[in-house]
């Protein structure tokens, strides 16, 4: 085998290895939910952690292009019945990550009941991802009863400008007023709308993760 070909093959192997190593280092997006101990279950909620959620080249490209990522968390408490399960409690919150081009920083904001709470501004995406991954205790607790419970956490990750999302939804309904108000170029509304519709139809802007705890009982622990 010619030496040049060998060298090229070696280079390819090294590059592949580097890429694989980088991919491993980035980590796989993981959602986890941990129920409280049985004696605490009546007084406190589960802890939710969303790790490595900013992983992925496409997601990072979209972020760098100015499209915010919206992570919507929903945590439900279900009780186990004989035939049917009952939804007992629900809580929701959001985390929004966006690139501030002027400041060269990723801004991470948590939104609970429309109240923003800054988790910080970070120059490095890894630090922003760490802020997203901070454990959050969902404020829904089980209650003392004969039934058994489990929690389910659902996380949807959308990478799309919220403004554009609104605009596209309006556009789908037939309204064009953002363009008419002069905030947007009317000429590009249609094109941008079609592009985004195509993306949405493919589901390309949305990821979803679902995790459940095992079934647990509430014991009579005093707070």
């Amino acid at each position: 085998m010619p030496r040049r070909l060998l060298r090229s093959l070696l280079l390819v192997v090294v590059l592949l290895g580097t890429t694989a190593a980088r991919a491993t280092a980035q980590g796989k997006p993981t959602l986890s939910i941990v129920a409280p101990a049985a004696d605490q279950a009546a007084h406190t909620g589960p802890v939710v952690v969303a790790s490595h959620m900013l992983t992925g080249r496409k997601l990072q490209e979209l972020l760098a292009s100015g499209f915010p990522a919206r992570l919507h968390f929903t945590v439900e408490l279900w009780s186990v019945g004989g035939w049917l399960n009952d939804l007992e409690r629900v809580t929701e919150w959001d985390v929004v990550v966006r690139w501030l081009a002027v400041e060269h920083a990723y801004e991470v904001t948590q939104l609970v009941a429309d109240q923003p709470f800054s988790l910080g501004r970070f120059a490095q995406l890894n630090d922003a991802a760490a802020a997203v991954a901070r454990p959050v205790r969902a404020p829904i607790a089980a209650f003392a009863t004969g039934r058994r419970f489990y929690y389910q956490a659902t996380l949807s990750v959308e990478t799309l400008s919220l403004t554009d999302l609104d605009e596209v939804e309006r556009w789908l309904r037939g309204e064009l007023q953002p363009a008419v108000r002069g905030q947007r170029n009317p000429g590009t509304v249609l094109g941008r709308g079609l592009k985004t519709v195509a993306t949405r139809l493919m589901g390309g802007e949305r990821r979803e993760y679902v995790e459940r705890t095992s079934v647990f009982e509430v014991t009579d622990g005093k707070k």
């Binding site: 279900w78 939804l87 910080g120 901070r134 829904i140 209650f143 139809l201 459940r212």
Partner: protein, 569 residues
């Protein structure tokens, strides 16, 4: 090389080990770490940092340091306690800190660093706010066990508390064979005050179906104004003047879906008539969940002939004729109740949807123009009509839901209903196992009550009743793509979908002297055995669904394949 005395070496070793031995890491229980972190942050001598803190190996900071958000990288020395709130702490080999309190963050590199004091750590995020330049930890959420407080309010009242006004240019959100795509343009005002709000939507309408001309066939208007007293609960008073084309039976299918069927498939699943007049109304509203509206209006009803707007498929075919309607002037008194406890379309809790209406109409109408070839003289008409659409959405498990719908409506008293107020069932929105307005296959015709024998196949039933039930189960469909490996940009699916099994039963009938086919006395209900039913199954991908439906009560009806761009109901 000088030799050191063994005792001295031992003493130095013990001294070196002493600080490390003193430092104990404790996972704080309750809010111990948070309380300590907040106290330390607010202490006057503490150096406070928001964002990155990077202490190089050759740098020493005297005193306590508190950092918000971070990240924190320490290679040098901090003589006091390092507090990190919602920040990760990275200690380099050789780093030294007096004590360490980390709330909402992780600690790495501790094994190579020196922590002389205690280490307090709480993994969970700390929410806080500032009051008079002091950091205050937010109160813990209350875990109220009162059963009536377990379920939060399903649909929060939107924080639509801003005043705005703009010039709107919009479609009517539908497409049909009479108007084509109606375009609406005009000002909108939404003025919020201390006592409530004032809204005005003033639209001119341009109908794009040809031939376009400067007349009422092309131009119309729809102006609505309301003065609302009270924000969450209250009373609204308003008025509306209009010259519009309206659907006879809008309840069967949404505007957007009916419009899409017309535009894409050349199938218009509604009939239309013109309404020109005005009304005044009083509305009692309870947030966005419910309202009760009383209205009084005078309007002229007219025929609306089909035109020839474009469609993507079968554009060369003729449209189904729009049936001729009764024409005349009517005085209408209407009571409407709307209750919607669903939080949104993909409701977390499920909920109720209730749409009830009673209309009393009186006026002068030239009736039955499509039924008789001669022009009838106008006659005095007075009628009362009711309509009820009640739905229950119930989640049985995280991945399963059972949805039920009951619809009934029609003549209640007075003269025969005008054609504008007649009803029918059959088609994708009601009985998908039966084709829309092709009831000649069904004998007797309990779907349109004889309408299919006439031009345009109008709905002719005085009353209808419909039951719908569906069971939905969610599943994750992944095809080609696997988002976990970041190939979510590929064509294909990777999203939640739902399988649906359903059953429907319904029929229409006329009210009159018993004996005639499909005619029952006003106090009678048709036997359930005479209802037409279907069963089916499908896949719902959220933005569209495909369903297979088979009529169970008419063996000759072939299986239908129905594509919907919204949930069945």
């Amino acid at each position: 090389m000088r030799r050191r005395h063994p005792v001295l070496v031992l003493a130095m070793g013990l001294l070196a080990l002493a600080p490390a031995a003193r430092a104990q890491q404790r996972d704080a229980t309750g809010r111990e770490a948070a309380t300590a972190a907040v106290a330390k942050y607010n202490a006057d001598p503490t150096m406070r940092v928001t964002g990155v803190l990077d202490v190089a190996a050759d740098r020493t900071i005297e005193g306590d340091v508190a950092v918000l958000n971070g990240p924190v990288r320490i290679a040098g020395r901090i003589s006091g306690t390092l507090v990190a709130i919602n920040a990760d702490v990275q200690l380099a080999a050789g780093a030294s800190v007096g004590g360490l309190i980390v709330v909402g963050g992780t600690i790495s590199g501790r094994e190579g660093a020196t922590v002389r004091g205690d280490v307090l750590q709480q993994a969970e995020l700390l929410r806080y706010h500032f009051a008079e330049q002091r950091l205050v930890a937010d109160a813990e959420p209350s875990y109220d066990e009162a059963w009536w407080k377990r379920r939060p309010r399903r649909r929060p009242v939107p924080s639509d508390d801003r005043s705005w006004r703009d010039l709107t240019f919009t479609s009517a959100h539908t497409y049909n064979r009479v108007e084509g795509l109606p375009i609406l343009a005009g000002p909108r005002i939404h003025q919020v005050t201390d006592w409530g709000r004032f809204t005005l939507d003033a639209f001119g309408i341009v109908r794009t179906a040809g031939p376009m001309a400067w007349n009422r066939g092309t131009l119309g208007h729809d102006v609505t104004s309301e003065l609302q007293l009270g924000k969450k609960l209250g009373l609204g008073v308003g008025g509306r003047t209009f010259d519009v084309v309206d659907a006879v039976e809008a309840w069967q299918m949404g505007d957007a879906e009916a419009g899409l069927a017309a535009f894409a498939l050349h199938r218009d699943l509604r009939d239309y008539y013109r309404r020109h007049g005005g009304l005044g109304f009083v509305k009692l509203h309870a947030g966005v969940d419910a309202d009760l509206t009383f209205s009084l209006g005078d309007e002229r009803w007219e025929n609306a002939r089909e035109r020839d707007p474009i469609s993507i498929l079968r554009g060369e075919e003729a449209w189904r004729p729009n049936p001729a309607m009764d024409e005349g002037t009517m005085h209408l008194a209407t009571t409407k109740l709307r209750v919607d406890t669903r939080r949104r379309e993909n409701s977390l809790w499920g909920g109720w949807y209730l749409d009830a209406e009673i209309e009393r109409g009186s006026g002068t109408l030239a009736r039955d123009p499509g039924l008789l070839s001669v022009l009838m003289a106008p006659e005095e008409v007075q009628y009362t009509r009711g309509f009820l659409d009640a739905r229950r959405y119930t989640r049985l498990a995280p991945d399963a839901s059972l949805n039920l719908r009951f619809v009934t409506g029609g003549w209640m008293s007075g003269d025969r209903l005008p054609l504008e107020r007649r009803l029918s069932v059959g088609g994708p929105g009601t009985l998908p196992g039966y084709d829309f307005r092709r009831a000649w296959r069904v004998n007797p015709d309990v779907l349109t009550c004889g309408g299919t024998a006439l031009r345009g196949a109008p709905a002719l039933c005085d009353r209808v009743m419909l039951f719908q039930a569906e069971f939905r189960g969610d599943f994750h469909l992944s095809w080609v793509r696997n988002d976990a490996r970041d190939d979510w940009w590929r064509p294909g699916f990777n999203r939640h979908a739902a399988w649906v099994i359903f059953a429907d039963a319904g029929r229409g009938w006329n009210v009159g002297a018993p004996g005639a086919e499909s005619t029952y006395a006003k106090d009678d209900l048709p036997p359930l055995s005479t209802f037409r039913g279907d069963i089916g199954a499908g896949l719902d991908f959220g933005s569209f669904g495909i369903y297979f439906a088979k009529a169970t009560t008419t063996a000759s009806e072939p299986m239908n394949v129905v594509v919907r761009v919204q949930h069945r109901f």
